[in-house]
Homo-oligomer: 154 residues x 2
């Protein structure tokens, strides 16, 4: 099954872009009504102590995974293939992460996201972050749909 | 003036650890009652389009800068040098980021943080993120003081 990210054209995002060779290169898939991402941390992505991941990695994973879940759902609602023209893009309006326990660096991380509210312009995505069976963080991300012109200015 | 991070011993954090050669290596300083950090993005830290930074970088900068502000303040309240023994460490309880505008990748980013609430165990830190004169994000981070044993388990 092709990951959502591998269907998004011209995505250079450090977190989720298939076109960023230096980035996290996360891959997300829908499993029924949950969007799932598994990520294996790199040793340098540690916190102060070497055995845990740094909080910014958890925030980055939640942010990008949630955004890809929201964007793929907008394609679905329009009955179109992910990445088909006209392209659909969202950006992050707000990101909240509750850190519940340290996340070990030597264990694969699993994110499970659900769409809590879906509007024409905004989607609220809730994520749970697991290390093995331990829930180590919870996230809420508001994805905001932007016009194609957003990508072309700056 | 020595940065807060350069006084913290054995800090391998990808975001703020002086001992992480691969990390962001942020440096924060107090200017009166504001804690200030300036960071120059790397080209690969882009969003989907190449000209903006990815949201996870903003979240990571706010998280680590806020935590260093909180930790350094606990040393100050105890009348001690940053990094002196016994070491003081905080972790992130909750991180919230409001993204207000895209943050250009070709411009230095400035974070300005203030301590909104300081308790014995928790500090609430508010941050403003600027690109030039443009406020591009606002963050709130709750730092939670942890015992030294937190760093040694896992």
């Amino acid at each position: 099954m092709t990951a959502i990210q591998d269907q998004l054209p011209n995505n250079h995002c450090y977190g989720c872009g298939a076109d960023n060779a230096h980035g996290l290169q996360i891959k997300s898939h829908w499993q029924d009504d949950e969007c799932v991402c598994r990520y294996t941390p790199r040793p340098e992505q540690c916190a102060g102590p070497l055995q845990y991941v740094y909080g910014g990695l958890i925030a980055s994973l939640i942010d990008c995974h949630s955004n890809c879940a929201a964007m793929s759902n907008y394609y679905r609602l329009e009955g179109r293939e992910i990445g088909s023209s006209p392209e659909i893009w969202c950006v992050t309006g707000r990101l909240t992460v509750n850190y519940l326990a340290p996340t070990p660096i030597d264990t694969e991380i699993e994110l499970r996201a659900t769409l809590e509210e879906v509007g024409e312009r905004k989607t609220v995505v809730k994520s749970r972050v697991y290390s093995g069976n331990t829930l180590t963080a919870e996230g809420e991300m508001i994805a905001v749909r932007v016009p194609q012109s957003w990508r072309e200015t700056g």
